[in-house]
């Protein structure tokens, strides 16, 4: 039961990853792609948590912490660039 729910989690996360990647490829403007980049980072955090659960190593969660900081900085950088280049 628990195993099946974990596989369901992985399948739903993979679907979410593919949908956000589709928006990253299609997105008409740069702001759409930045939004898709942000969502892809957040989905990757879920993937990292799943990998940590599968391997049983708590040290993997530090990478998720770096990701949570990184998505913020990247989006701020690109948004600043977009605002200045009007």
């Amino acid at each position: 039961m628990v195993e099946g729910l974990l596989y369901l989690t992985a399948a739903l996360g993979a679907t979410a990853f593919l949908l956000a990647l589709g928006r990253f490829i299609r997105g008409p403007s740069a702001a759409d792609r930045v939004a898709a980049f942000d969502v892809l980072t957040i989905i990757s955090i879920t993937g990292i948590v799943l990998a940590a659960l599968a391997e049983g190593r708590g040290i993997y969660l530090d990478v998720a912490l770096v990701y949570a900081l990184l998505s913020f900085l990247g989006v701020i950088t690109v948004a600043h660039y977009l605002e200045r280049s009007v």
Binding site: E3, L6, Y7, A10, A14, F17, L18, L21, F24, I25, A30, R33, V34, F37, L40, T41, S44, G47, I48, L50, A51, A54, E55, R57, I59, Y60, D62, V63, V66, Y67, L70, L73, G74, T77, V78, Y81, R84, S85
Partner: protein
């Protein structure tokens, strides 16, 4: 749970190749190329984590993805501004 990590690796590999092709094909605008290169770096960092190298994953996420994207946009803003 043993089949989970290689399946994640395959998905990440496909996404990385698509993003790399987006980065080097010349039809799209330059900020989109830089964002796609940043996405390649980000997914490579998850790939490093799956290859049991969390320290490399941390460095790649912070430096390879964050700092490189920041540098590219810094230079791009200078070039556009002049």
């Amino acid at each position: 749970m043993s089949a989970l990590l290689p399946a994640m690796g395959l998905l990440l590999s496909a996404a990385m190749l698509v993003a790399a092709l987006m980065a080097v094909r010349g039809r799209r605008s330059l900020p989109i190329s830089i964002l796609a290169a940043g996405l390649v770096s980000l997914l490579a960092s998850v790939q490093f984590l799956l290859l049991a190298a969390p320290d490399v994953a941390m460095t790649e996420a912070a430096i390879g993805s964050g700092l490189t994207t920041f540098l590219f946009f810094f230079i791009l803003a200078r070039v556009r501004h002049d």
